[in-house]
């Protein structure tokens, strides 16, 4: 009897971007066949604008996953940030920027706690961030008596809702898209820098990394902080897009993980690229849009996400012997 060998397709290097690009291209072709209007600039821009938060979260999740960990707390962090912002701003137009700074600080703090508990106390990140998820949900609930108070000012919401109008050829460019491009560039620079390579090494083989003088705890903690920052940016955009609600971040952690996995980032760490993760998020959103155009109920989205994660984990376990 033969033992199952790792599945291998010729032509694709592991961690390569080619698969996700192909999938995205196929989806886009299907989409254009069904709804050619989708590619008209206004519709495309609005699609990219509203996909920005999940793409940001996927980028944040990339850093954590590639370092060999998992961040389940981002969805509840987004909710917490939106609820906090609404309560602090309470319709006051001048409170916008100070509150954004405060939110960034809070995002960093949550990332730090996640990272330090995982690395110093050696709690598996799955448990750490699940705990953080529950703590944030509970705390927000308690703090707001079960219903969000206050409201976001129009000024605060502008970043997530408005756009540069009357741009030649494109019509309007959502601010969210500009924020996304800036953050994506930053993420790319980070992964190309020493830090990015260290992170991949840490995720691939922490022991080796440790022995070669890498401070593993610091790299991993930084990854969690980046994820917290990404969640904060996403919260500002989501709060802007749709206003305050308790559901603001619901399920986003799974969306981000699915996107990263779909983009070829290996659960368990050590393989993948941040561009892949972000393309994964775009692909996921495209898939959902396609499902909508074909009249599939939106209720099926979680099921599709679940299937992608399951298949990806199964696929990853196939790879283990080939290491």
């Amino acid at each position: 009897m033969r033992i199952a060998r790792p599945l291998r397709l010729p032509g694709f290097r592991s961690g390569s971007l080619a698969p996700i690009v192909v999938i995205l291209a196929v989806l886009l072709v299907l989409l254009s066949a069904r709804q050619p209007d989708f590619f008209s600039p206004p519709s495309l821009m609005s699609f990219l604008g509203r996909s920005a938060p999940i793409v940001l979260l996927a980028a944040g999740q990339y850093f954590v996953i590639v370092s060999g960990e998992l961040d389940l707390s981002v969805g509840s962090l987004v909710t917490a940030q939106v609820v906090i912002a609404a309560r602090l701003i309470d319709g006051d137009p001048s409170a916008g920027w100070p509150v954004v700074v405060l939110l960034l600080a809070f995002g960093i703090a949550v990332g730090l706690v996640n990272g330090l508990v995982t690395t110093w106390l050696r709690v598996p990140s799955f448990i750490t961030t699940l705990g953080m998820f529950l703590i944030l949900v509970g705390a927000v609930y308690l703090w707001s008596d079960g219903a969000p108070k206050g409201g976001l000012s129009d000024e605060f919401r502008r970043l997530g809702r408005s756009a540069f109008e009357d741009v030649p050829a494109l019509g309007r460019i959502p601010y969210a898209l500009v924020v996304l491009l800036a953050a994506a560039t930053l993420a790319l620079v980070l992964t190309r820098a020493d830090f990015g390579r260290t992170l991949v090494a840490v995720g691939g083989n922490p022991r080796t990394a440790e022995l070669s003088g890498v401070r593993v705890w610091r790299a991993k903690t930084m990854a969690f902080v980046l994820s917290g920052l990404a969640a904060t940016l996403a919260a500002v955009l989501i709060g802007g897009y749709s206003g305050v609600s308790f559901q603001a971040g619901a399920g986003l952690e799974f969306g981000a993980i699915t996107a990263a996995v779909l983009g070829g980032v290996a659960l368990g760490g050590g393989r993948g690229s941040v561009v892949g993760a972000m393309l994964g998020a775009l692909t996921l959103e495209t898939l959902f849009t396609l499902m909508n155009f074909y009249g599939v109920s939106g209720a099926l989205e979680p099921a599709v996400q679940g299937a992608i994660i399951l298949f990806a984990v199964a696929a990853a376990s196939f790879r283990v012997p080939s290491r």
Partner: protein, 390 residues
Amino acid sequence: MTVLVVSTLLVLAGCATDEPTTGASSSPSAGTGSGTGKQSKFFVRADYDKQLALLDTAPTGPAGKPWEQALNPAMVKTAKYKKPGPHKICFSNAGLNNPWRQVGFKTMQAEVDTHRDRISEFVHVDAEGKDQKQIADINDLLGKGCDALIVSPNTTATLTPAVEAACQKGLPVIVFDRGVDTTCPVTFINPIGGYGFGHVAAEFVTQKMKRGGKVLALRILPGVDVLETRWSAAKVAFDKAGVDVVGVEFTDGDPARTKKIVNDYIQRYGTIDGVWMDAGAVAGAAVEAFEDAGKPVPPINGEDQLDFLKLWKEKKLTAIAPTYPTYQWRTPVIAALKILDGEQVPNPWKLPQPTITQDNLDEYVDPTMPPLHYAMCGCTDLPGYPKRWK
């Protein structure tokens, strides 16, 4: 590499779902007529007919105080509960876990404050939305020497035995909002109900939109009786009028999801001519989706939450707001005191369920109140207004 295989499979699976459309989200091509799908299993024809009849019934009771009025009241004797005051009144509350209940409970507390000479103690226990906790709460309250017990049950079937046990103790029990499957309480107080709500909204959208237009129905979530009744009445109305309902979608009460759904439908059909909602929570998000897409906002319904009412007035929407009035939280306190005086009370105590329309919108829009406040609280004459509700 493997991911590719997997994802390709998923993509194929995605294509294979071309023809489907089951249940909730049926497309017009499915040939089910108006696309409203199967009738909800919560739909009870007799209740529906009764509620629709109540919509046109004139209430009895003091004018301008709908929380003291009743529709078709059948009075019950309460002489055996007569007792000298002051009284200790106890309240087992299903939860305070949404803005509606928050506003309602504040209104109830204010109502209690107006009777401080007659109510020596008001005990409130919050079950936090848990059946088991509420059963224990009611049991605990029975040993606390309450003169009357008010119950707002978390769920109907599960709480019925606990309420029956309370009745057997001999103290007057008053149930309001959601009901129980027993007639043992002295009275059951609630407004007309979900069928009335859904019907009023569906009729409005049907009449106000252009003929043959496309309607999008947005629901919070399936399987909750009060929301199912709202939708099932709307379905009946839409089917009867032959309205083209292009989609029935669940929003989870999430504004971001709502905006995305509405945006998707606008892209898919070019335009949507009417929006029906089973609750007002995300009406603002739906309106924003039309604005952001540069489309006129079609006839739409919300609820009496102030964010929607303000938006309606500000943007001059074609809108209507059926209500599930929070003033019903005043009535149980009034009922308890009447019962302890031995006065007759209606049972069931059906409260009027007013609708906010263009004509009376200005009476209810108060820009100083918070966005999640419910305008139909009947609380403006109560002590501590408006500060207590902010």
